[in-house]
Amino acid sequence: MAQADAGALDQNASVEPTGRLRTADGRPLKSALRRAQRRRKITAFLLVTPLLVFILGFFVFPIAQMMWRSVDNPQVVRALPNTLEALQTWDGQDVPGEAVFAALHADFVADAERPRRDQAMGPLAVRLNYELSAARGAISRTSRQAVNFEAPYREAFLDSHRLWGQPELWRIIKREGRPLTSAYYVAALDREFDADGSIVRRDENRRIYVQLFIRTILMSVAITFLTFVLGFPIAYYLSILPMRYSSLLMICVLLPFWTSLLVRTSAWIVLLQQQGVINSSLVGLGLMDDANRVQMIYNMTGTIVAMTHILLPFMVLPLYSVMRTIPPSYMRAAKSMGATPSTAFRRVYFPQTLPGIGAGGVLVFIISIGYYITPALVGGQSGRMISNEIARHMQQSLNWGLAAALGTMLLVGVLVLYWLYNRLVGADSLKLG
């Protein structure tokens, strides 16, 4: 910029004998320009600093921390340092020998001596139970007795809980005896480690997440498409109406924005349920048999209908703002040159609305892929989405590592889709208003 300006000035300004341009007070023009621009850059930066600090502190940092949890694995290392060392020479086949159990005893004793706040066996029990059911019971029951164990320790531990006699528990302790783990991602992909330590698919009856991810994406695509189909004509109509009517109608489009999400979702329950308004009206009009009321809620249909309604304004607004800027004379010009109305629409009007469709589509898709409360209320079993599972792990099972892994995968998925969109369509063409 500075160079370009200086170059342009070269043509007209008077050139000193040294060949360098100077300002009125004698400083070289180039450095004066640079200084002025630096000052402007600093001002601009200071202006956005509060927002930047806010985003870093309350958005980027918590997300990074959450992502870190999906690989963070301190529990085994902290609770069982002696055992892990003794396990280094273990072949991974049979139950380990006395040396390992003596080390295990030493770890339990060391832990009992720590103040309660710092005890590591509780978190260890919870962590191991994610990998092997009943491991929590083995650890917490043993930790109450272990201090009193006498040598030989192997027998004492094997007596205290059956799991100590299972090589699987030892393999898990050895595998998870590292500060970082991939176990949460393995679980999030419906996979697990087998006896050799290689990753295999889980039993068919325990696979959930991959299926849910696919369903979430398909449902989001369907919702995005439906909002487009419903939103495009509305936005078009709004854009050709005179301003005073269109702003009145715009209020109707925006009205849902001002109503509580829960109220809107409950309204759909009242409308769609089997004893609800729609079913009862159809039965009352004799169009449907009382015994064959249609189930339109507590399934995928319910989620899609309710979410399409809730997300419709996110499609209409960008479409409207783009359509408003398309001069009607283009269509007239196309028609005057012989295009049929449908050709004029297809070849002249529609291509110009693409930035709005792109923006609306990306908005609706990204919002719906992480939607949570509506699927929980009207989704039944077939209309659930991945975010319902994430919420369950955050709030109920308290498996934050798995929740973080699922959340990170969702985040990465959205970023990949956005990147693809950017490659194919170009983010520059996004128009939000």
């Binding site: 059911s133 325990r206 349920q273 209320l377 099972s397």
Partner: protein, 368 residues
Amino acid sequence: MTFKIKLAGASAAVSLLAMGAAQAQDPVSLTIVSWGGAYTASQVRAYHEPYMELNPHVTIINDDGSANALAGLRAQSQAGNVTWDLVDMLPSDAQLACDEGIIMQIDHDAMLAAAPDGTPASEDFLPGSLGECFIPQIVYSTVLTYRPDAFPEDNQPSSIADLFDVENFPGRRALQDRPGTNMEWALYADGVDPDDIYDLLRTPEGVDRAFAKLDEIRDHIIFWTEGAQAPQLLADGEVAFATGYNGRMFDAIEVEGQPFEIIWDGQVVEWDGWVVPADGNNLDAVMDYLYWATDTQRLADQAKFISYGPARASSAALVGEHADLGIDMGPHMPTAPENYFAPIVLDNDFWVDYGDEMRERFANWMLQ
């Protein structure tokens, strides 16, 4: 939250000023976390209000965070900023929190009142109800409820087996969207003795058997998530059967006048009670409150406001009439002899150990 506390602190200070310098104790505000709705209301009337009357320097703030108590406790503990003083939660969650060391261990005889006849607390509370870190208040149960008008008069359902009998008792069923209770009932309906259910569920064959039984009614189920959804679905006529907490069903039947009937067969009985977050700021005040609020009379008092049974044996004789409705509450208690004929006592050890695996299988089963 901070705002709330400040506000309560301010109001406590105002009331202190009003009383003048005669009051020697510093004002304390206790944040007590519970389930909200009718349940918190019963605690407010049975415990909080009388306690604040006796101890004017204490202000109690209610927080309806119990549904996510475990997550909240862990988050507060990790942030090093514990703002909850006392939390109402389920024993299985309490055991997890106890293992993590984020709630206090309880010495029941030293910290809690003895029964009026001198029986120490550890013997007065119902057998199996006390936990390492857990003080039970109530016994509640998950019961099957139905609409009598959904079935002919001469063919009304009466057992858990009828829930799984779609041919004789057609209609949709509202079940909770988690394995607890559903797995137990599947085996119970399949003829397993209540005492053997959890032994069987610890084996893969038992789990398969439970899911095979659940398969029989799969197409007739609507799953509910929030406790209030079950009575609502039943009231709307969306379902013929619904599982739900007996207290909510009592409210729907007696207070709202809904035409539901409760089936006490196979009721799944569980405790609910207090835990004390470790590193709270008002431990002395909390302990004083706990000693008072879990004594024999107070636990019996709570049953005046909600149909959950007191967790102390010595309280049972003191349960009287509902404070507003004037109904004798005895027959509505899950523990009343005529209701307690075939109870399934929830095995928390089982659910803490196997819960993750069961939830995964159940989620997978729901997805099919």
